[in-house]
Amino acid sequence: MAPILTVENLTMRFGGLTAVRDVSFAAAPGAITAVIGPNGAGKTTMFNCITGFYRPTSGSLTLRHEGREVALHRLAGHRIARAGVARTFQNVRLFAGMTALENLLVAQHRTLMAATGFGIGAVLGLSGYHAAEQAAIGRATAWLEACGLIDRADDPAGSLPYGAQRRLEIARAMCTEPALLCLDEPAAGLNPRESLALGELLRAIRDGKAAEGAAPCSILLIEHDMGVVMGISDHIVVLDHGSKIADGPPAAIRADDKVIAAYLGEGDEDEEGAA
């Protein structure tokens, strides 16, 4: 099957610093693809390129979804989101002063906006909006249930405990009905029990079983901690010092010498080889 996301020769430079260097890989549809690597390897930078927050210095990014090919590296940030790529942030970015439910409704802005006749119809009280809002609330409720947050629906997002905020951010991303969900270190700061539950949730999202009416969704997952990803990933890409050093199924990655060396902090020799 054609990959949902193809990254080709992606390079991102900040002045003299090359944060991502000539990285190519493909993410299969309906799979969880993990990008791992030590701190500073360039994972977040690559994510920011894919989701339109940075414009890559060179290389191409292609999303294939519903028979269409979209060149992500040419689109503005909000259009990438509309093309079907949703993301979460390494430092959670919720609308802290709005309730959990409101956060999920903002995520459905596009569909709701169309239903309001782009803001004007709804002010005048034209029909159709009410039904659309009820449907949006229904979807939000389904995702709040899937993430175990239904009891906190009316609490401000900023008042939720850290783990709940992470799950709410995932729920918010899923409310945009994406084809590809990009998660930046979703397990950071979670305790082992929460990490385990997160793994369950991600697999359910992949298979479209997490919430009522949810479609299967491919996942691109950044993780710093190897242990977390080994259990749930279908495919792993390893970055070190901005370059890809390995690419394959979990079992192969676990046995890869370069990966072991990078994670044991012996990457300094590789750095010169790659530069």
Partner: protein
């Protein structure tokens, strides 16, 4: 025993704090009060020292600061949560009644006995600022865009009406929507280049825009009359019935068989601005519960997250800007028709500052807070006219005190727009102010 142990550090901290304050006071008062040049008997200047006065002032500052600190700490220790926290519950509960009571009062004001021409004029002034505050609240309070040039749209509205009426003889009721549309158009025109800027930069550019509009009005003498302004702006009619002083056929008083009175027009203007203000409020409240309003607030909370959800930041900001500008334009048209004379002098930066002060004091995003702030600020300004320059000092001090006591304004908390269960207000500490 335990009391003594906890009391001592409080005392120490308060003493230290008061000592510091006294030192600061010394630094200030030594040169300002301690040294004074006087004219001697021979006409020469000589330096007089007043050290006792300085010591006295320092002692006052020390004692005042000490008492304040000591009282604060002591209260915190005895009562746990501070006064504001304990007041928050009853205040928000009584808040539910404040709005309807205020509305009823506003509706019945002209009918209340003892309310004369002066009070109605004051009411019109307050309501104009309430409307401007509500309009700016869309931009600053909901969308979180700091706009220091809001008066520009007020000016565009006023001049639009004055010029359209003068050159094309259009009536007020046709000009009102046109003035709003023109102001919105200018809002979009300004918005396009400016909305890429954030925070302080946006504030400075909007400030500049306000000045540009004023300078154009001042210097384009052939169109706007320059500093002489435009006079003889037609007054609005009541569905075609004019408010002429002498009555006469086709006038309001004649049609309804009333004694001709200049108060009719004032009452009419009062209800007109009340209706315009309520329209602003109604549209804002409605939009807030809909995707556009939610996107504004989300943008205020976190712009980057908004972008990741597919929200077009530029158009969302533009809608807020245009809508705020439109209501500013309506208010401007009203101002022009009420005064019958406008000149660039009415649209200086101080107006923008007052409107912004109303929004910030009232609480960013809170409709009720803005209304109360406008009432207190504009009404208070008028009521204390006798105090002359003192009122500026008093109002400055009052504003500083309010900002210390309630940094997010009188009503800083936020009401959720939807809820599965019961809606609970969100405390001010959670809600972001927005920075651009």
């Amino acid at each position: 025993m335990s009391l003594a142990r906890t009391r001592r550090p409080v005392l120490g901290a308060a003493l230290k704090d008061a000592g510091l304050a006294a030192l600061v006071a010394a630094g200030l008062f030594l040169p300002m009060v301690g040294l004074r040049t006087d004219v001697g008997p021979t006409g020469a200047l000589f330096l007089r020292t007043r050290w006792t006065d300085v010591l006295l002032l320092m002692a006052i500052v020390f004692a005042g600061r000490f008492l304040l600190r000591f009282w604060q700490e002591w209260r915190a220790e005895r009562h746990g949560p501070s006064v504001q926290k304990r007041l928050a519950g009853p205040l928000s509960r009584s808040g539910r009644f404040v709005a309807p009571v205020l509305l009823l009062f506003a509706l019945l004001l002209p009918a209340i006995p003892g309310i004369g021409r002066y009070e109605l004029d004051l009411g019109i002034l307050v309501l104009t600022y309430v409307m401007l505050g509500w309009g700016l609240n869309i931009v600053v309070g909901l969308a979180g865009l700091l706009d220091l040039g809001y008066v520009a749209f007020y000016a565009v509205g006023a001049y639009s009406y004055a010029l359209l009426a003068q050159y094309f003889g259009l009536s007020f009721w046709i000009c009102l929507p046109l003035a709003g549309l023109l102001a919105a158009f200018w809002g979009i025109l300004l918005g396009f280049p400016v909305l890429r800027l954030r925070g302080d930069y946006l504030a400075i550019v909007t400030l500049g825009f306000g000045e540009i509009i004023r300078l154009v009005l001042l210097n384009w003498v052939s169109l706007t009359g320059g500093p002489n302004g435009i006079s003889g702006i037609p007054r609005p009619s009541f569905f075609g019935l004019a408010f002429t002083a002498g009555g006469g056929p086709g006038s309001f008083a004649d049609f309804f068989g009333l004694e001709p009175s200049p108060t009719h027009r004032v009452v009419f203007l009062y209800y007109l601005i009340l209706a315009l203000a309520l329209l602003t409020n109604w549209v804002t409240l409605r939009l807030r519960r809909q995707p556009l309003g939610r996107a504004w607030e989300a943008m205020r909370e976190d712009e980057i997250a908004c972008r990741s959800l597919g929200i077009n930041i530029t158009t969302t900001k533009l809608t807020a800007f245009a809508l705020g500008a439109m209501f500013g334009g309506f208010a401007g048209a009203f101002f022009a028709t009420r005064q019958a004379f406008i000149s660039p002098e009415s649209f200086t930066f101080i107006e923008s500052a007052i409107i912004l002060a109303i929004v910030v004091l009232g609480g960013l995003g809170s409709q009720l807070g803005v209304a109360i702030a406008a009432l207190v600020l504009i009404g208070g300004f008028e009521v204390f006219r006798d105090l002359q320059e003192w009122r500026m000092l008093v109002f400055g001090a009052a504003m500083v005190l309010i900002m210390i006591w309630k940094p997010r304004g009188l009503v800083g908390s936020r009401n959720p727009t939807v809820a599965l269960g019961e809606k609970r207000t969100i405390s001010a500490a959670m809600v972001a102010e927005g920075r651009g």
